[in-house]
Symmetry: C2
Subunit: 398 residues, 2 copies
DNA sequence: AGCAATGTTTACACTGTGTAATTATCGTGC
DNA sequence: GCACGATAATTACACAGTGTAAACATTGCT
């Protein structure tokens, strides 16, 4: 009757406690116990360990009710992590702590046709500058993360930057030397950041597809029970929805990206693709200029909906969050997506079975997503150095 | 340095030992220890437990080498499981043991347009007949499994049998009463059966997509590290690949299924859809009759490849196994699939990055897949009654 | 100051594992 | 037919990590 769930390694237990703190931004012990499904006794033991290691801190708060808790547990500001983000426009490097503070930022413009050698050169320089900054302050990085669009498709290669990926990860590993570094898909970092980092109101809390429409069209299935670092990107951009249609940079015809990417719509509205997302609300005003523009964009949204419906047929989900330029469109125009869904989604679009929501593209806050991802990876490792851990060592051998 | 990986609940440990036995069909202790990453000491303890419970048996064998092992451990024939499979043609019920022996089979024809009431009625009758058989022999079922095409798409509903799924699972649960019963997608059961049940040579051993082209077109990602019961079906059939194309039974136009399902090709070759898969090798001879037939079928295979490429763009995998009518086609005709892949798969088809293989559709051995799935579910539960297990009970509350 | 209500820590028992010592089994060679 | 070598299989013990329950601490209220 006791319903015990005993076995967990210390690392796992620490990880789930720390993850809970990262997601909530700070919690009282009883809450923590509930979230992690541990007893307060265990929480007490783990926290005293983590406090000794200066990974977490206690802040005294007045009790919220009679006899209530007084010690708010938060992640420590002593742990330094780094995040590096590559987008089609720039390479951003940042250093911060586990609470989300960004203490150092450096952004370099890059071209969309960036070659691998060129990138490596730039990367090395940027990291060197960052390390100078950390060395000056005596900071030691506990974790770094690099977010790259199109990353993580194994043998299929990167559809956005056609690079040698094993070489890239080796290169990055070497640059960072002793510091553990995680490389991930930009959209994974972004989804995790939006969903969990408490920087704004996120429209859904259950499993859903996060779809970003930028230079590429990529999604992630945000599965609430799966660790973020196991999320895998969902490259929607190169689904062929119109045989023999518009030519795409991938060499095929009729891809979703050929119709709905920033580059594709920049041709319609006559604004450089790099400017579109930064326009924010003024985007809509801009559209008033051309009468046929909105209609043309609605057609593109319909095609996006068609591809999205196809994707949802493969992997049914009851909720989708869309970010990117479609989120800047007037809400009546966005309805075109539903028309597309009606052409492909099994059973058609039905608000009771599919919730569609939009979230503003978060231009300007790079490399916060990568930084958050670095914090997440640190936390997932239980705040223990992966290199000295026997279990990980064992797995590496195997 | 020791590389210990201690924490596992007894249930998990038992499950991994039993799963290993199910997959291999019997093993010696040292092999078992390696496969489960446990020490021989643990294996010894677990096996003595399982032997007492009569879930496993020991068969004496002459040692394969000096000082070699003599006791081959196998799953017991004492544990009875039931498998029920619904296809568009029939409802098959079987009872067997964990070794794959099928002791009782009953098959009833059903129509493709089966209504839910009608199905429930038939199901109840078939199960009653089966229970009469088990009662006569004093058998007590330890686990049952039901495999249904199109099952498991949550709120999205079943695209093949448009039924009320919560009602269906409730109904099935009630029918079986005390016996634990798992309901799953037919293609999941089939993939697991082909891949793990040692009934034939399976072409790949790594992660891959298993795609079955029958009345529907469905796939499963067979991920070697994920438990089979967590596999989720991949409904490729209703991806729209030709806007405004052929009408599909789902109400949309241009779905993969409208071009490549058994029903679709039965119109081309003039053979009833229910007969196609059972023709086996004579299928090819049949095609010789019509000159344009093969060309028409090749076109359909191209479209299948197009849809497959789209799916692989979303979820990159380096290996695909195809079963169903395409596997009966002459190998030169199957090359049309590659043409389709070349239109959609990022980077085009490349034998070094994508291995395509074919496996004969296993008509006639239903309900072996469901039976195997039942055995798998039993094994996954550690051979313990899930109802008396505190952990499961806890999870059910949550 | 004392009390009620809750939070926090600690002593102890329990589960399940690995290590290492012990015991069992088999084939081989004399 | 019996001792020996090689490996399999079991068992005693130590250790990690959890939950339970009791002890102790803190707070606000009267």
């Amino acid at each position: 009757m006791s319903g015990r769930f005993v076995p967990r390694s210390r690392r796992e237990t620490r990880a789930s406690v720390l993850e809970s703190l990262l997601r909530t931004g700070g919690a009282f012990r009883p809450v923590l116990a509930r979230e992690t499904k541990l007893t307060e006794a265990s929480i007490s033991r783990i926290l005293s360990e983590l406090r000794k290691e200066r990974v977490v801190e206690e802040v005294r708060r007045s009790a919220p009710y009679v006899g209530g808790p007084t010690a708010l547990i938060t992640l420590s500001k002593n742990v330094a992590v780094a995040g590096i983000e590559l987008s089609n426009n720039r390479l951003s490097v940042g250093v911060g702590d586990l609470t989300g503070t960004l203490d150092y930022v450096d952004r370099m413009p890059v071209s969309g046709q960036l070659g691998q050698d060129e990138f490596e050169h730039l990367f090395q320089e940027s990291v060197a500058a960052m390390q100078e900054w950390t060395d000056q302050r005596g900071l030691i990085l506990s974790q770094a993360a690099v977010a790259i669009p199109g990353y993580g498709r194994g043998a299929a290669g990167n559809p956005i930057f056609p690079w040698d990926m094993p070489r890239l990860t080796r290169f990055i590993d070497e640059i960072f030397g002793d510091v553990p570094v995680a490389v991930t898909n930009a959209v994974v970092a972004q989804a995790a950041f939006h969903r969990y980092s408490r920087t704004g109101i996120y429209p859904v809390a259950s499993d859903h597809l996060f779809l970003f429409v930028g230079h590429g069209v990529a999604g992630v299935i945000v599965d609430e029970t799966t660790p973020v670092d196991a999320f895998s990107a969902f490259e929607l951009g190169h689904m062929v929805i119109e045989r023999g249609g518009l030519a795409c940079r991938c060499g095929h015809r009729g891809c979703v990206e050929a119709y709905t990417s920033l580059r594709a719509i920049s041709k319609i509205i006559g604004v450089p693709d790099s400017d579109i997302l930064s326009k924010g609300d003024s985007f809509i005003d801009m559209l008033d200029l051309g009468a046929g523009m909105r209609e043309a964009l609605r057609e593109r949204l319909l095609l996006l909906g068609l591809g999205l419906g196809n994707a949802l047929n493969l992997h049914p989900l009851s909720s989708v969050v869309i970010s990117g330029w479609p989120s800047l469109m007037p809400s009546e125009d966005r309805l075109a997506i539903l028309d597309g869904l009606n052409e492909s989604l099994l059973g058609g679009y039905d608000a009771s079975r599919l919730a569609l929501s939009f979230i503003a593209p978060s231009i300007g806050n790079d490399p916060r997503a990568a930084l958050y991802y670095a914090a997440y990876c640190f936390v997932r490792s239980g705040g223990l150095d992966p290199r000295t851990d026997p279990q990980t060592a064992l797995e590496e051998i195997a």
